[in-house]
Amino acid sequence: MILFTRHLTLIVAGACGLALSAHGAQAPQHININQLSTTVEDVVVPLPNEIFGALNKLGAVNWKEHVRSDKGPNFTERPRIALLLGTVIADGFIAVQAEDASAVKDIGQRVMALAKGIGVGNSITPHAKAIIEAADKRNWENVRLELDRTQNSVQQAMNEVHDEKLSQLVSLGGWLRGTEVLTSVVKQHFSADGAELLHQPDLLSYFQTRLKAMPEFNLPIIHQIQDALVEVKPLIDVGSARIPAESVKKVNEITTRLGAGIVTRD
């Protein structure tokens, strides 16, 4: 019994030591964000399914009514292709939420075609094939993973050839489509928690800054997006106040209009 107690004491002491060694020095409870002497890195733009996941937790969503898999027009302007590619990848995440294998496969083909159009087809082909294969097997987790990899590979390939601006347009296209669907869902069944998911002012400022640095992309859709972001900013940048149903409706109108502009030829 004494031996057992001694062993137990040793085990407990060891476990406590291990737990303590796993924790470093205590982090300060409060820091002054304005006095951060370090550079603040750029944000990683959240994937649409990050927002959809939070939305799912608020109640059942009929994702099927948001699935969109039509082929749409072919563009020749690279910024337009980049924006469209972003929205199509976001459509892929929506089709995964709806567990619509046929739509996912169509989207996989479309992603491949658009990536070729923008000159990054080679890095996308294995992911697009994996998306189609996983959709056939209804392995939704793998489809999600491959969609994330697709977006990342497109952006890496663009960054490698110094097309960072196009890479940012891919993110913007995805964010706009995600916001369109988010506001559409919240508009139908309004809740304060659902509306709060729109509280993304820093992300919006990030896109505004990036668009300002793209004067060479002198396209009507780019100007429309710039103007629209100015309209959206005060609707979602509300500090600790709640975002009202009226603002959600307005953001939905704006993003739906932009979404139509992205997929339609001028």
Binding site: H23, A25, A27, Q29, I31, T39, N152, D202
Partner: protein
């Protein structure tokens, strides 16, 4: 020791030093990322989706870097920090937009790995502060990945 043996020993030591230096020179943020992903591995089994995108760079000992990230209430997040320098000590902590520590108590630091867990109380911007606390290297590569569920 005869002259030949001395030459062999010196050449061997020189070769070893060159290999070590080359390894250090060739080490990159990608290596750091593979360590961050290694820290994330057990959490994938718990249903966390780990993002392909990541942040990375290099820091001197005692230097910090802030990363701003949009988080959504309703989701649960883990941020994993790693470096390939195995004698380095790194840390990662999460603050909300008011500068208040926002992480859960199960966040941890283990040598060249660290992780911070957050269940956001509000949707908005959060600051992830990464730091190289100690390192034998002048500059230490770091990579930060995150996952959510």
């Amino acid at each position: 020791m005869n002259r030949f043996a001395k030459v062999v020993l010196r050449s061997g030591a020189l070769l070893a030093a060159v290999i070590v230096m080359q390894r250090a020179a060739c080490a990159s943020v990608d290596d750091a990322q593979s360590f961050a992903l290694q820290a994330a591995e057990p959490y994938v089994k718990q249903g966390f989706q780990v993002r392909e995108d990541y942040w990375g760079g290099d820091l001197a000992s005692g230097e910090k870097k802030a990363v701003r990230q949009q988080l959504f209430k309703g989701n649960e997040y883990w941020f994993w920090l790693g470096t390939e320098v195995d004698r380095a000590k790194v840390s990662v902590h999460i603050y909300d937009s008011d500068g208040k520590l926002a992480e859960e108590p199960d966040s941890w630091e283990k040598g060249h790995f660290a992780a911070a867990h957050v269940i956001p109380k509000t949707t908005g911007s959060y600051f992830i502060i990464v730091s190289v606390e100690q390192s034998p290297e002048e500059r230490t590569h770091w990579a930060l990945v995150y996952g959510f569920r």
